[in-house]
Amino acid sequence: MNLVYNIFLYALWFLSTYYVIVLILIMLIGRKNLYENKKFNFKKEPRVSVIIPAYNEEGKIKFTIKSLKKVRYKNIEFIIVNDGSEDGTSEEVKEYIKGDPKFIFIDRKENKGKAASLNDGIARASGEYVATMDADSVIEPGIFYKTIPYFSDEKTAAVTVSVLVKDPESFIHKIFEMEYIIGLSLYLKVFSFFNGIFVTPGPFSIYRKGIIQKIGGFDEKSITEDMEIAYRIQKNHYKIVHCLEAKAYTILPPTFKKITVQRRRWYSGALHTLAKHRNVLLNRKYGAFGFVAFLNYLLIFLGLVLFLSTLYLFGSNLVEGLLHLKYSNLDLWLRIKSAEFDILTMSRAAILGFVSVSFTVFSLVLGLIMTRTDIKKKKLGILGYPFLFFLYQYFWLVSIIKVIGGKGIKWR
């Protein structure tokens, strides 16, 4: 057990550290290109259609509509697709869009799924560009002036933006906020430097409609259509670029249970997408994308193996410790009281762990500096960030069990 465990530990440590160092180096070398601030040089604003699929979004969609009303872009239409909601979504939408000609409301009674709703929206869209947006997200008013210029390259099929957490309050939300700032904002920009973006986030992404239609629109069988379409864009040798300066804000599920449900959908969808597009892995034809996808899943696999074996070791030690305590009046306090710190009792594995945690925090702080985030206000999130490793393993585990169990997962 010890030898196998150590091999996994060292392999995971090496690969993950290498991966993060590559990203940090690219980030540092390309720091002047992180915020490109491209100029909007169009004589006439190109037409944009924003599609917002909604399923049971009562109480939340009004905020989305309010943020859309503040959008400064003029040549625009907003298409809200009600995907057979069972609550008051339809009424709320009607009330808030009343009298505004920019809004089109497709009030479907049947629930067909998010991808189908997006495809319905695209079919109705008159814009050259289509933006997709979640009904629990809000966007900044100038987002289209920032993103449209990124389509200057004809091969660009999609532009992603920085997705941030709206009003994080609880400790868990503050931890996930870090993930959004780094993973769904900064690292997407870094990935875009070598055309390695593997997701066009649902809270907000904008596409060139012609290309999306050419590659067949969104996959209606997929529960993570935003990832699936990114794979297809990459496979068709188009580009996905990231606009770090444009921001969309999403509301995180309020409870850990609901976050688990969301992640289970994401990760199960990711596994389905991987199974569907497995031929991209390490395929030179798809350039860096194939390598990034492979490395991501390899790290996930190794992380999971390490997590499970650590859990086993921790569990057996815990049981052993409890048995010891059984013969000692369960006197834990005596143990705590007489515990002493001796650096010499640190094994190599413990040093590896310590270096990993320090490195994770370092890369996070560096990322926050790069994204011009006020670090002082993010202390709690920074502190809790290393725990994300354990949460990821938990989410992956429940997702894999779901996928193996063959149980269907809906998009909401």
């Binding site: 090496f14 052993e320 013969y327 005596l334 001796d342 190599r348």
Partner: protein, 219 residues
């Protein structure tokens, strides 16, 4: 922005450098552990004084030897106990890929000297009227004796509670040390764990309250 191949090579070099630093640090800590054990092992050379005390006792009677011994008792007792604990902790921290022969050798030496000290302490206890409890603990490795670990844990607690009032000696039966084997035969030890509390034998797992009660303390 064009990504040059040199970035990937540089990242590889940095990662290897970090890994080597960790391995070197691990090696450094290993050496420090060994030095620390070796330093602590100097207590064993102090135990040579035991022979001097024995001689003093023979020539000048118990009074002088007891005076000398009492002045040393607490120090020896504490040092030996800590050495035993450190030997075990450091062995666990080092034992990643294989068992380190250094610790086996040190443990051998330690057990032999523990025995020497225990024998003298037992003798001195009567002759010098010492109010010192003595517990000897015989065990085997945890793979074959799961309860031995539990017993070791309990005895650590007993030592923590009674501190200098009790001397606990642990003997690893797997080391096949002749004098330990002799002692096992003397006490007719056939199962593990087994403890001798002030010359009274108890085999199998013995809980903390029982030991404390035997020593006249309430749990």
């Amino acid at each position: 922005m064009e990504i040059k191949k040199s970035i990937f090579i540089l990242a590889f070099v940095i990662t290897v450098f970090l890994l080597l630093t960790i391995l070197l640090l691990g090696g450094f800590l290993n050496n420090e552990r060994k030095s620390s054990v070796e330093d602590r092992m100097t207590i064993i050379s102090d135990l040579n004084d035991i022979q001097t005390f024995s001689l003093l006792s023979d020539v000048y009677g118990n009074k002088l030897a007891c005076l000398a011994f009492k002045s040393k008792l607490a120090e020896w007792d504490k040092s030996l106990w800590n050495l035993g604990i450190k030997l075990e902790q450091y062995r666990v921290a080092t034992e990643e890929f294989q068992k380190d022969p250094f610790y086996l050798e040190q443990k051998n030496k330690f057990n032999e000297n523990e025995l020497l000290y225990m024998a003298f302490l037992t003798k001195a206890k009567d002759e010098c009227n010492l109010n010192q409890h003595i517990i000897s603990f015989f065990y085997k490795k945890s793979e074959v004796c799961k309860k031995c670990d539990d017993q070791s844990f309990v005895l650590t607690d007993v030592k923590r509670i009674l501190e200098d009032n009790v001397s606990i000696f642990s003997f690893d039966s797997d080391l096949n040390i002749t004098s330990v084997q002799l002692l096992e035969r003397y006490y007719e030890i056939g199962e593990y764990p087994c403890i001798i509390i002030n010359e009274e034998k108890f085999c199998g797992i013995i809980d903390r309250n029982f030991i404390l009660a035997k020593l006249g303390y309430s749990g």
